[in-house]
Symmetry: C2
Subunit: 219 residues, 2 copies
DNA sequence: CCGCTGTCGACTGTCGCCAGTCCACACCAG
DNA sequence: CTGGTGTGGACTGGCGACAGTCGACAGCGG
């Protein structure tokens, strides 16, 4: 029943490690959408007390990976196709702001270079999880380069939900993560053509929503 | 030292009541930015245990009203002028998406009517706090009418920070909350002119950022 | 007078426990 | 056989206490 033993080697708090372990367990599919996450069971699995698990669960709840059911019980959350579409539209709005700010920034040259580097990490051969990481890293980098901390935070709050949506439709994720999909964004930024970049991002997000909204696990 | 006694009359949990009380205490200025929020002190003030206060504080931390300082201690957060600008730019992006979706919605007529009603709540005479509430209610309503739940959630995550920013510059908030500032948005939506509505929202947010970014409380 | 050190205090991290509540299931009366 | 009932189990809500850690301050040596 053990999720994964918490190595007590690093200096972070138990709460942080538990949070990380829980998030990884959910994202890895160890717990499926709808599964009940009992505090006592998790406390036993993680080797920590209930209170510690509680805080981690509350955090995941705010992240949207976990939702409250009957009697305050928490279950692994899943997204409806409609929610996936909504999610990607919000993401598109945020990233559109990001590209506009990057283009308008005096550090546009350096930003474009950094994005070039991030795009190179999008390998076409790695396993799905690694591809997703590289893809998310690119988009997060894009937000970071805008220099807008509030934007970064808002984007990161969507990240958990995006991961579940992407992993749910992992069978068809390959084309979305391709390097060719991201290069045009960087090129438009390099040209200083914000509107073109926004259009590319919008189209990219729209396609992605279409791909990942398909209910692959009827559960 | 008592923040405010929690009436044990309603049916909500202690955690929720504590959270509400704490948020109100911070937003009301009972605690100033930078103030240390001790778990034991708050527990005593609220008449609940430390664990309960802890969870409420963690929630406020994610809301951005509270930030972690040395040794995990939590302090009331404040926003730099730059952050206020960033905040309103993100908000503008989200509300622009909202108006686009409202205009594109088949329920546009009904939505416009609901916004008309919300605009009427923007009285020019009430006290600052009430004006802010009406203003935020209008904008939240706008997001809700988009029917995009992810958008609503993203917006609400900014709400706490917006409140602190607005209250910090409450001395000059009056013009921003005026009804005339919001009527054009509704009118553009009624006309079905999404781009015009977006421009109005953008301008509104830009002005607001300018107003509320002024450091009024040098602390 | 200045710097180092040891001790004290305060605060958070974490834990185990008790209480309240809801659900499921067995049981019994009709 | 069916419906109401009661009882047991499981789960979360909430609490008090212990332990670890860091900062402040007084005291001592140079």
């Amino acid at each position: 029943m053990s999720v994964e033993s918490l190595s007590a080697l690093d200096r972070s708090t138990l709460r942080e490690r538990s949070l990380e372990a829980l998030r990884a367990a959910i994202l890895s599919g160890r717990y499926r959408p709808g599964d009940h996450l009992g505090e006592v069971e998790l406390a036993g699995s993680l080797g920590v007390s209930r209170g510690t698990v509680r805080e981690a669960l509350r955090h995941l709840q705010q992240e949207g990976l976990v939702t409250a059911g009957t009697r305050g019980m928490l279950r692994v959350n899943s997204l409806t196709p409609a929610e996936v579409h909504e999610l990607f539209r919000v993401r598109a709005a945020l990233e559109a702001l990001a590209v506009r700010e990057v283009v308008a920034s005096p550090r546009r040259e350096a930003a474009a270079a950094a994005l070039r580097a991030a795009v190179e990490q999008l390998t076409d051969e790695a396993e799905p999880a690694a591809r997703m990481e590289a893809d998310l890293a690119f988009h997060l980098q894009l937000c970071r380069l805008s220099g807008n901390s509030m934007l970064v935070e808002a984007w990161q709050r969507l990240e958990g939900r995006m991961r579940v949506a992407i992993l749910d439709g992992a069978d068809r994720q390959a084309p979305m993560m391709a390097r060719e999909r991201h290069v045009p964004i960087v090129e438009a930024i390099e040209r200083g053509d914000a509107e073109a970049a926004v259009r590319v991002v919008d189209a990219h997000m729209s396609d992605a929503a279409e791909h990942f909204a398909a209910p692959s696990r009827p559960a």
